[in-house]
């Protein structure tokens, strides 16, 4: 009897532990809805999700990179680069919207591919490779745009950032599509399994006959691709490709991944956790805005939440 109680209590704790990020988000939402009557209204909720969508898409790629035990500091720069290329192709070269988007996506993916090549084949540390790429891609962007924003897009292109499907903003729709794709990729395909295996033990994975270099290159390239998707949405929404856009996104993306419970040493974590992590950051920002807290204090609050979350996660694992 006593034993049974213990087991059910243990199961309960395990469930709490599993959904702790979600529970944290829920508590935050409940508290804020009492503090501000505007918080839990449909326009505000849609606003939050739209705000989160761009950083979330970047975070999905970051989740995969971190799962392999790597890191990518160049996402913000790759995002700006692909946005600028896409804008330039339309405005300066007069290309068709879809062709321009395709070229923008290819450009960002190529940069990610290069990151992967340097990490997997040249065996350089991911931190250094992507730190260098962060500067290089930002430099490329400034060279290409001559340091000036590119703007003046047609309605078709504006749709991706500013359009709606019913009441739902298009960036949110795109985010959900990628959430589902990455979720399935990680859970149901060999590539996903290999990503977890590499993060858990790369040598053992290689000796099991898996081409680990190929997987790592694919993950970094995919991360470049997802950063490009975000860059194009952001360009469309702002109706302008800013050469300095995406600065600091790498830190927001890493924060979302870590808040979502993915281990920085790789091997464990989920993309669902990441979206919840991204939402926590966005809800916190939004709530503090509504409460008229200065953005200076918001930065402090954001950092404190990240520290607290990681601390609690570490505690619960012991």
């Amino acid at each position: 009897m006593n034993n049974e109680n213990n087991t059910s209590k243990k199961n309960f704790l395990e469930i709490i532990n599993k959904f702790k990020t979600g529970i944290g988000l829920l508590i935050l939402v409940i508290v804020l809805s009492f503090l501000s009557p505007y918080f839990l209204t449909i326009p505000n909720v849609l606003n939050i999700i739209r705000q989160v969508s761009i950083i979330a898409i970047v975070s999905f790629g970051m989740t995969m990179v971190i799962l392999t035990g790597g890191i990518d500091l160049s996402v913000g720069s790759m995002l700006a680069f692909s946005g600028a290329i896409t804008a330039g192709m339309m405005v300066n070269s007069g290309l068709n919207v879809f062709l321009a988007i395709l070229i923008g996506l290819a450009a960002g993916t190529a940069l990610g591919f290069f990151n992967g090549l340097a990490v997997a084949k040249a065996k350089l540390p991911a931190f250094i490779v992507t730190l260098a790429m962060m500067t290089i891609a930002r430099g490329f962007t400034l060279i290409y745009t001559d340091g000036r924003p590119i703007s003046g897009f047609n309605e078709t292109f504006r749709f991706f950032g500013a359009g709606y499907l019913g009441r739902i903003p298009i960036p949110v729709v795109i985010m959900f599509i990628f959430l589902i794709i990455i979720y399935i990729l990680l859970k149901k395909t060999p590539l996903g399994r290999y990503i977890y295996a590499i993060g858990g033990n790369e040598t053992a994975t290689k000796l099991s006959g898996i081409n680990t270099d190929k997987i790592k290159i694919a993950v970094y390239a995919l991360n470049g691709f997802l950063a490009s998707v975000s860059g194009i949405i952001l360009t469309s929404r702002l109706n302008s490709a800013q050469p300095m856009s995406g600065e600091g996104y790498e830190l927001d993306a890493i924060a979302a991944v870590v808040l979502g419970g993915t281990s920085l040493s790789g091997g464990s974590g989920t993309v669902i956790g990441t979206i919840v992590g991204a939402l926590i950051i966005a809800v916190l920002n939004n709530g503090l805005n509504l409460l008229n807290v200065s953005s200076f204090y918001q930065l402090v609050a954001k950092g404190a939440v990240i520290l607290l979350a990681v601390f609690l996660d570490r505690k619960s694992q012991q």
Binding site: K10, I184, K188, T189, P190, R193, Y194, Y196, A197, G200, N201, T203, A204, T205, K206, L207, S208, G209, I210, N211, G267, S268
Partner: protein
């Protein structure tokens, strides 16, 4: 006069979720005594030592250290009471030197600076007392594992530890290093230091231990004087049944040649290796640590990019540039280091078993077929008697022997034609060893060719039909296992051709 008891553990019970890891276990230790703690993997040896050391808290029972009832909350408290554990994985800092490691955190100082003169002097004193000949200024990374272990012991002694726990101290030592370690243990005994000795090698127990305590399935089986028992009796106590011999009688049926290696050379690793392998035989590879046994296996398995020489598979020359190439050809290598190179500890039993064949069980050519994966895992859990609550259990929660069976399942799932076993029975218990030997017999019965690398000469000699011996990256010669003895192997292994 009877020696004073320094440690007494009474009725220790420890329960983990779902398992009673220790059930009323007793253990006692006298001054200047070496006391062996024996048991199969999962018998509770490590748990008992973790309870002693304050890593785990006991549920019931009492621990008395030097007459005082204690309950250590952490390893620091245990250390202060004079307890030290020498782990299998050494815990030294590679880029610091011997002296810096021994007195880490306890350095003598001149103001804010370390007093190096005093540091080296004190280190020399400790090393001299132990009769260990190591330069205090040598960096740890430049020492071999045997010397590193001496440093670890010196560190414990310098902290005034008088109860030492040695966990498998000889598992990665050469025979020569083992002799030096045993001399050191003798000197420690003379200094009235008490030693708990955990090992799988029964010969060692008889060589240096005074008493033996045997655990089985978390329970205390018996405590005996070493002089009043023998190997068979101990094995019987450990496994609860008699094992006639340590090795089964193997039946070899060599047929046609499946693999031929010609002048295989890997810069710095292998020099001009040539040999052939037949279906249905077990080819042993013997040699001292560092002689190139593992590297030869890895070269065949495609681990090294730079290499020269020819490899023929079924008479056809092949190129193997990666483990993937080797596995596709039908060659599988079982690593000597299952935790670092064999398993993804954070993944489940099923996910580990299926990893090499995942691409052959897809739905719609894209998605992993979960039920096929589960079936595969269940088949091997049953076939190899892997002890696990389910195929979903994470591999890190399994005992060493069962982990090894998971790696072997992964290997078997690829239906290999050549299997290279590198130290397949290292650190696993007698019962599981026997099961692995039987499995090798089954493999050669099916016409698989097996290469067996082992540091244990009796294992190589009893399980192979031919043995090649390596010395300093080269193959020194080949022996017929039926007539070879340990002496003839050692002669070649130390570089003396007949």
């Amino acid at each position: 006069m009877a020696k004073e008891t320094v440690l007494e553990m009474k009725n220790i019970t420890k329960t983990f979720p779902g398992v009673k890891a220790l059930d009323k276990v007793n253990f006692s230790l006298k001054k200047g005594e070496v006391h062996a703690l024996l048991g199969e993997n999962g018998a509770g040896k490590s748990t008992l030592m973790k309870v002693l050391n304050g890593i785990h808290q006991r549920d019931e029972g009492e621990i008395i250290v030097k007459g005082e009832s204690v309950k250590f909350e952490n390893t620091k408290e245990a250390q202060n009471a004079g307890l030290a554990i020498i782990h299998q994985e050494l815990e030294l800092i590679p880029y610091l030197n011997v002296a810096e490691n021994i007195f880490l955190g306890r350095e003598d100082r001149n103001g804010i600076f370390i007093n190096y003169q005093k540091l080296y002097q004190k280190t020399s004193e400790v090393l001299d007392m132990l009769g260990v000949d190591i330069d205090p200024k040598a960096k740890i990374k430049d020492l071999n594992i045997g010397s590193q272990q001496m440093v670890e012991i010196a560190k414990a002694v310098s902290q005034n530890a008088d109860i030492l726990v040695m966990d498998e101290p000889t598992s990665s030592l050469t025979n020569q290093e083992i002799d030096i370690l045993f001399e050191l243990i003798e000197r420690l005994k003379q200094q009235e230091i008490a030693i708990v000795y955990i090992s799988h090698r029964l010969e060692e127990v008889f060589e240096i231990c005074d008493r033996v305590t045997v655990l089985r399935d978390g329970q205390f089986v018996d405590e005996v004087e070493t002089s009043a028992t023998n190997e068979d009796q101990l094995i019987k106590m450990m496994v609860g049944r008699t094992i006639e011999d340590r090795f089964p009688k193997m039946n070899f049926s060599p047929t046609e040649e499946i693999l031929k290696v010609e002048n295989l050379t890997v810069p710095k690793e292998i020099k001009n290796a040539s040999f052939s392998l037949k279906k249905g035989e077990i080819l042993g590879i013997a040699g001292l640590m560092g002689s190139g046994r593992t590297e030869l296996a890895k070269a065949i398995f495609g681990v090294f990019k730079e290499k020269s020489g020819n490899i023929y598979f079924k008479g056809k020359k092949i190129e193997i540039n990666s483990p993937a190439d080797a596995i596709n050809t039908g060659i599988y290598y079982l690593s000597e280091d299952r935790k670092e190179e064999g398993l993804v500890l954070g993944l489940s039993v099923a996910n580990n078993i299926s990893i090499s064949v995942l691409k052959s069980m897809l739905k719609a050519n894209t998605f992993i077929n979960k039920s096929a994966e589960t079936d595969l895992a269940e088949k091997y859990i049953e076939d190899l008697k892997i002890k696990t609550p389910s195929e979903k259990q994470l591999v890190k929660n399994l005992s060493g022997g069962n982990q090894q069976k998971v790696v072997i399942s992964k290997l078997l799932s690829t239906k290999p034609e050549i299997v290279i076993f590198d130290e397949p029975t290292r650190g696993i218990d007698v019962g599981a060893k026997r099961e692995i030997y039987n499995l090798m017999q089954e493999l050669i019965n099916e016409g698989v060719a097996v290469i067996l690398i082992s540091s244990e000469l009796p294992e190589v000699l009893n399980l192979s039909n031919r043995v090649i011996v390596m010395h300093e990256k080269e193959i020194m010669g080949e022996l017929d296992a039926a007539v070879a003895d340990q002496e003839s192997v050692m002669k070649l292994a130390t570089g003396r051709r007949n």
